[in-house]
Amino acid sequence: MKKESLRKAYGQALVELGASNPDIVALEADLGKSTMSYLFKQAYPERFFEMGIAEQNMTSTAAGLALAGKIPFVSTFAVFASGRAYDQIRCSIAIAKANVKICGSSCGLSDFGDGKTHQSVEDANIIRSIPNMTVLNPVDAVETKQMVEAMVRYKGPVYIRINRNELPVITPEDQKFQIGKMYSVHDGKDAVIFATGAMVHNSISAAQELMQEGISVEVINVSTLKPLSKEELMRFARDKQAIVTAEEANRIGGMGDTIASLLFNDIRVPMEHVAIDDQFGTSAYTYEDLLTCYKLTKEDIAKAVKTALKHA
């Protein structure tokens, strides 16, 4: 399957949308070559603000730009966007409902070489807990582009997680992405996997292998991490014997926790969570090495499905 860069898709989408929307501006903290916001800088230098390595000021400055009518896209690594500038997101942006779009790039373990300080196991968990925030986690380059378009249409603060590595393209070009909607990406009837980001791909691989063993598993791309709607979850969970969640994030306060709490009263079927087990990342030669180390592979997901079904 063809792999494409989500980062590049993000930068290109900004450039495309910037052509027809003069209110779009971009802010960077000296990582533009990684986040790909430099593409916007090349296209519209007057609308690009290099804020230096000062994420807190960058984040509050974006709030000011939004309060005066602009649509600012703030880009930096997920770990800095969510951690270094947490209170700036909370006060300057979220309480104010400022129309700021935050790109947490190199999310999860995807910046495999740089290790603990640069990998974010908790960015989505943190941002999801802030009222007024919307959180997106695209599965591939095509969905990334669709999401950036949706972010511009939506009035309010949005956080988008972007994987550093190229990922297989599974989203149809003509998908009409809507914030809050979930997308079925592999059919099945016995169990359902609610997966997000890169874990969707591993979940599809797991479902394909399980099919060989006669186990039929539906895979859902949960690309909106907030709002997570019970109705959407119920659409896919209602007729299944087991549920698995898969995310490249700390299990504490993660998507799995939330899905479990949303479904608990209505669907009492066994549930397994595939997530990072309350640990920081570490350096590795490859992204795949890390996914193996943190038990986020297709094998881990397949095992979780079997465990859940065994208890069904």
Partner: protein, 280 residues
């Protein structure tokens, strides 16, 4: 030249703002009297003379902006906005209540408030964003932001200071309420940030100083600051925390203190005395 009638008018407004603040705090409830009253003259000058604003159209595209980065002084801003008609007087009497409009710190739900502030250190950055947006749109709005001196220990302020000078922003004027007292004591004892003028100058700002309770001087200094082109400007106002109230002046206890009945009456008595002097 600033004419005497204007100064007199703004002095009367300043007095009214202090009355409003005392009445908002009332008896037995905590309120930021100290840092509100150190700003009374500046609020009167900005809101009632310098700024272009319209209470019947609080978000007019042409308006000037005023942000309190030291959001805990919200009471003095609420007093000014109320006197200008941004919201009814009844709101002042239920400030910080569950039913009221006026939050403990500035909130965007309040007409005339331009940003959410209160977590210190963020207001200058937000102001910078507004200034950059106005410049992109080639609009003439001017942005004013007020910081505290205790707040100067927030690192984000200095990030914003560097950014504003990097971007050569000159539609932004900052004020530093140099009242020398913060929540738990004198700034020199709690966390000294000396040589503020030289610090701001070395960060690329044009620095002005003015007595902070002298209306004529404040007006003249703002005019000079606004005339600076190609760089941001800051006015350091030499103020007294708790100004106008003998029991609160220079007194950290009234950063967010509680007035008992006797203290409350004394506050009103001192304002009445000031009123008689102004009318004499």
């Amino acid at each position: 030249m600033v004419d005497d009638a204007l100064v007199k008018k703004l002095e009367r407004i300043t007095l009214q703002l202090r009355y409003d603040v005392v009445q908002m705090i009332g008896v037995g409830k905590a309120g930021h009297l100290g840092g509100s009253s150190s700003l009374a003259e500046l609020m009167a000058v900005l809101y009632f003379y310098v700024m272009k604003i319209d209470s019947s159209n609080p978000t007019a595209a042409w308006r000037d902006y005023l942000l309190l980065s030291k959001g805990h002084a919200a009471l003095i801003q609420y007093a000014a906005l109320c006197e200008l008609g941004f919201f009814p007087r009844s709101e002042l009497h239920r400030v910080k209540s569950l039913e009221g409009l006026l939050q403990g710190h500035p909130d965007l739900s309040i007409p005339g408030i331009e940003a959410v502030t209160g977590s210190l250190g963020q207001g200058l950055s937000i102001s910078l964003g507004i200034a950059l947006a106005c410049r992109l749109d080639q609009k003439k709005n001017h942005i004013y932001v007020v910081m505290g001196d205790g707040e100067q220990s927030e690192g984000q302020l200095w990030e914003a200071a560097m950014a504003a000078s990097n971007f050569k922003v000159d539609n932004l004027t900052a004020f530093l309420d140099w009242n020398k007292v913060q929540a738990t004591g004198a700034t020199k004892d709690i966390f000294s940030v000396p040589d503020l003028g030289r610090k701001w100058a070395s960060f690329g700002w044009e620095v002005f100083e003015s007595p902070g309770h002298d209306i004529r001087s404040i007006i003249e200094t703002i005019e000079k600051a606004k005339a600076v082109k190609g760089k941001p400007s800051i006015v350091i106002l030499d103020t007294v925390k708790g100004k106008g109230f003998s029991f609160a002046e220079h007194n950290a206890a009234f950063h967010n203190g509680i007035m008992d009945q006797a203290t409350y009456e004394q506050a009103l008595k001192e304002l009445d005395q000031k009123k008689r002097e102004l009318n004499a």
